[in-house]
């Protein structure tokens, strides 16, 4: 199974993925630096903020593309027959694909995260700020949160790939899922706030208040405020959010394994 994971990672690295990632990273860093120039009071914080937003978005697309590349396309092209001929069970195969995407995601995240950190360190504004961003441990925590966020989306995409017959379904629905899960928290807090339309609140609140049972709130994994404003981390909340994400990933992968086991490839 570990060979299979390593094989997946190698396939991912050899694909177009990392070359695209390199180009997008350059564009992202440029955009983040320019965005910092919009800020009069906290250019470094805004650069970091926009950089993390872009990083989160790019890596989401990369993770979905990797799931498509490593799993969905195998199923479409029937190359999966050869893979299933290895002495591994189907659920082991699925798990190794998830691990491969996880490793690839971690590598990409380290690469872009390090590049962003270097850009901030070398080219960031030297404007004295009331509260400079914390680029040490809090930054690592923020990246870790983004990685967990990616894993949840990747697990969802793998579940879809185990069902679907077209490779584009995991890509498109995975993207929609990520949008919904990331926007869930801010949407609920907006509906609860005084500025929301009472009609909207009456319509959507009953559904969204119970969304915790089936949709993870990925905004809970967005820990960038720790790095942006040097806040002290709320450990119990972060541990709970991690547990929430890990349990959801395990649930999705179990379901995917069950479905994949029973699927007949014709």
């Amino acid at each position: 199974m570990f060979e299979l994971t390593a094989l997946g990672v190698r396939a991912g690295v050899r694909g177009q993925g990392f070359r695209i990632l390199l180009l997008i990273t350059l564009a992202l860093l440029g955009a983040a630096l320019l965005a910092g120039n919009f800020s009069g009071r906290q250019p470094l914080t805004v650069t970091l903020d926009v950089g993390l937003s872009g990083l989160r978005f790019i890596l989401l697309l990369m993770a979905l593309l990797w799931v498509q590349d490593l799993l969905a396309r195998d199923i479409e092209r029937k190359t999966i027959y050869f893979l299933l001929a290895y002495p591994v069970t189907r659920s082991q195969f699925l798990c190794s694909r998830f691990l491969a995407v996880a490793f690839l995601g971690a590598g990409a995240l380290l690469f872009v995260g390090l590049a962003l950190w270097l850009v901030l360190y070398l080219f960031g504004s030297s404007h004295p700020q009331l509260q400079p961003p914390a680029l040490g441990m809090p930054y690592v925590m923020a990246l870790l949160g983004i990685w967990l966020d990616l894993l949840v989306v990747a697990a969802f995409a793998i579940l879809l790939a185990s069902i679907s017959t077209t490779p584009y379904l995991p890509l498109l629905l995975g993207f929609a899922f990520a949008l919904a899960a990331r926007g869930l928290g801010p949407t609920i807090s907006h509906l609860r706030s005084a500025r929301s339309d009472p009609l909207h609140e009456a319509l959507f609140s009953p559904v969204l208040e119970h969304a915790y049972a089936w949709l993870p709130d990925l905004s809970r994994l967005d820990w960038r405020a720790l790095a942006l404003y040097g806040l002290t981390p709320d450990m119990p909340a972060m541990a709970l959010a991690t547990l929430n994400a890990v349990a959801y990933i395990a649930l999705l992968l179990t379901l995917a394994a069950v479905i994949f086991q029973r699927r007949s490839f014709t």
Binding site: V50, Q131, A225
Partner: protein, 278 residues
């Protein structure tokens, strides 16, 4: 021959294309006035086009607000800017540029409510930063005329900045004193006096308490005088002595003195709102 005809058509098309392009220079573009704001999509739509990322949505709104030119004087633009900044504050209340622009632009252009919303959210979520609390207090005093709120937030700002604390505390005291209900103001000042350890500040508070007590005594004397003289005003303030238990004419320890405002109510002279009389 067979090649000539398509080439001729292509040349004619190119001619029409280049001519119309040249003529278009003379016309204004529809979106010529880029510096004004017209569009504010609902908050949840903003969240959607930011990929569900509230931080990005906040940044986009702040960038749009920054791009408004200082020469724009149009009310609609400021109304939209107020909404954009209030949205940005609900996405990311800690955004420093957002509250700073809000404090500098919004209330001065008629968007007091939006400006105060942004500042309140920033003041509540940035405990290390005295400025949003201070701007919020100042706007409460200057635009909303809510002296209790102004004094309360000036005190919070003082707690956040030990260096500026004396100045902020005396501001808080001054704003509490200007409250419409002077007996409430007197209570607040006495409480502050009892709780303060700073000698200089206690002296200042004592002076403000004395001037309010003088004002209340004078008001009582004036009311008594007018009751006994069919509502007439005295020709000299010294005539008030003996009415309403007034024994000596109170001195204002801060030197401004007391005077009648436009509605015939006694006030401390430096409390009369010049803008209201204009």
């Amino acid at each position: 021959m067979s090649l000539l005809r398509p080439l001729l058509i292509a040349a004619l098309c190119w001619g029409a294309f280049a001519y119309s392009g040249l003529r278009l220079h003379g016309y204004d573009r529809l979106d010529q006035r880029l510096e004004v704001l017209r569009v504010r999509l609902p908050l949840l739509v903003q969240l959607l086009y930011s990929g569900g990322d509230p931080y990005l949505a906040a940044n986009l709104n702040v960038f749009r607000s920054i791009l408004v030119d200082a020469s724009v004087t149009e009310q609609e633009t400021y109304r939209i800017q107020g909404q954009l900044q209030a949205d940005a504050a609900s996405f990311n209340p800690r955004h420093e540029d957002n509250y700073y622009i809000a404090a500098a632009i919004l209330p001065w252009n008629g968007q007091v409510e939006a400006g105060q919303e942004v500042l309140l959210k920033a003041a509540q979520s940035r405990p290390w930063d005295m400025w949003p609390a201070f701007y919020y207090a100042f706007n409460a005093m200057y635009f909303e005329r809510d002296m209790t709120k102004a004094g309360h937030w000036a005190e919070i700002a003082a707690q956040r900045s030990p260096n500026n604390a004396p100045a902020l505390r005396s501001m808080a005291a001054a704003w509490y004193e200007r409250q419409n209900d002077s007996t409430v103001a007197l209570d607040v000042l006495r409480n502050m006096h009892a709780q303060s350890a700073d000698k200089e500040f206690r002296r200042l508070l004592q002076a403000r308490i004395a001037r309010l007590e003088g004002l209340l005594a004078l008001r009582a004397a004036l009311a008594d005088y007018r009751q006994q003289h069919q509502g007439k005003l005295p020709t000299a303030w010294a005539q008030l002595i003996g009415y309403g238990g007034l024994e000596v004419f109170p001195e204002d320890p801060l030197g401004a003195g007391y005077t009648l405002d436009a509605s015939g109510e006694l006030q401390v002279a430096d409390h009369i709102d010049i803008r209201a009389q204009e």
